[in-house]
Symmetry: C2
Subunit: 343 residues, 2 copies
Amino acid sequence: MNVNLKQLAEMLGLSQTTVSRALNGYPEVNAETRQRVLSAVRETGYRPNRAAQRLATGRAGSIGLVMPIAQGIDSDVHFGEFLAGLGEESVRHDFHFVINPSAPDDEEATFKRLAASGNVDALFLAYVRANDPRIAMLKSLSIPFVVHGRAIGQPADYPFLDVDNTGAFHDATRLLIQLGHRRIALINGPGNLTFSIRRLKGMRRALEENGLSLDESLVQNSLMTDEYGYRAMQRFLEQEQPPTAVLCSSTVIALGAVRAINKAGLQIGSDISLIAHDDVLPMLKPENFSIPLTTTRSSLRAAGARIATRLISRILKTGDYPDQELWRTELIIRASTGPAPKP
Amino acid sequence: MNVNLKQLAEMLGLSQTTVSRALNGYPEVNAETRQRVLSAVRETGYRPNRAAQRLATGRAGSIGLVMPIAQGIDSDVHFGEFLAGLGEESVRHDFHFVINPSAPDDEEATFKRLAASGNVDALFLAYVRANDPRIAMLKSLSIPFVVHGRAIGQPADYPFLDVDNTGAFHDATRLLIQLGHRRIALINGPGNLTFSIRRLKGMRRALEENGLSLDESLVQNSLMTDEYGYRAMQRFLEQEQPPTAVLCSSTVIALGAVRAINKAGLQIGSDISLIAHDDVLPMLKPENFSIPLTTTRSSLRAAGARIATRLISRILKTGDYPDQELWRTELIIRASTGPAPKP
DNA sequence: CGCAAAATTCAAAGCGCTTTGAGTTTTCAA
DNA sequence: TTGAAAACTCAAAGCGCTTTGAATTTTGCG
């Protein structure tokens, strides 16, 4: 049914060597010969056997993901969305995944095992923590990797793709201040993850630049779920001096926050302003909220695709991508932000 | 660094054949010899080269997923959770994934391509639609597959794992009727998916068994998101004769429904009862709702793991699992259900 | 004991691809 | 025209495993 290289070469009256070279873009093949090969491929539907390629080249043709099974992360919407981007791009290059779920305390061992197994030729790390020991470990592993995020408290001398979280929340906070808000709350992601830390930092910086200081009682760290968003917002609103504005680290959190605000009988955009970070989840669009949300935006799916591209190009040694990227976010104004209410 | 079969065999003074057989559980190896081999493996940390195995056996060692990128499905929490189960189990057997995102109208072609590529030796299908043509296509493909769900309107003569959706919603509805409810609403998943169809059917049957009939205006089909749950519930409550109970096809939907109910100033469990289907999403536990939810429960992650087990056992021709499984759900009573309010 | 049968073990042939090192043919300046 | 360099093409050797078919050793029974 399926032809293999040998048969293809025979049909063309060429050697396997030449055909293989023609296919893999080697320069020492006559242009005309290459055309003949290519059109034969089209006719026969020839597809190289990946296992043979892998064996011959020593490349595994797959990327290792360690999927954290810590509570609330694994089946996180955010992770799924990221995965979609990664998958979309990988499949284009015929790359596989090895998804390795792992408990947090076993992650380092899992990475090592994965790298040693020879089953993957690149690794991917996400959910970076403050001074993440896993990065040093990855560096020692002599296998390409890209980190989604950046550590804190250690030199950024490794390949990463990160979103400018500090900048995003700095800009969002500044906007709120310009609108007259003075008490601003933050419903953040888990406190040990660097993106949460940086978002808080951006917020704090903007406050300080305007002579304001952060009220720690208006900061909440937790998993980014609707439920936590709801509870946090409710707690904030129960304070003697409730905030007039709130930042949410995800639209999923915003979902709960909005619910609490509505329940309290307050009007979003006038009584209280809300800005959420938008990962561009197709299932939760900020413009579909009853009051469309002002957001800082950065597509998680695009990030996944980009990381796949970079990893694959590194493996195949093609193309030339920057080793470190910091994506700026866009601040998009919708109806959930407005001037601070008169006291 | 890493030993290979040849070296291992040399160390042991055996032939590659014998070592290979010892490792793969062939019977014609002396028990003592096998022990020697096994302990040598432990000492050297020998791991067979998967690419070579794949080439030699013709098995790809991976499972193909077609990840729908239709709006609202791809990065669906439910899909992520399922994936976690699948991944957890696969990695245990050193199996890979080929995740192939695909637009709905291109899915059949994607499956075919995947099967023909030789890159996968089993396929997996989810999000089954009423008279799903993809099943016939899978049957024609001569590659093992398991369907998550079941079609409707064609013989169930293929391997599947399904949840008894009809039974689940039948039982839930019956409970509500026993509690005195007469007007019961349903916020369902997409109307073209079979699990939605069966849930409606279960509900309808329970109603009819009790001399009641379904009010079509109390049924809503849509993506299973918070937002749709909210809107549907709101619409129901605006009716002249609002329902006194509602069934939700997912806890995610329940999230929105609860929000709408609260907003309307109604009390869950007394003014209105709610039962949701619980996929056991770690991020959204029914017992954590402000009013804990009564649910029909069936773990999506467990389903993923089970499907992986079955597929792998089929590929390796080990073990012996049933070809068709229908999982019953549990009906768990919590505080969101109560007697119908007096009219 | 002797010999056929059963129990082990082995050498060698692939699996389908890449790549090395060696031709063979063309091209082009002298 | 000629010879060296440039441009192509090729045969063959792996990559590390499984598996076939044969060889060797043990076992069991007359």
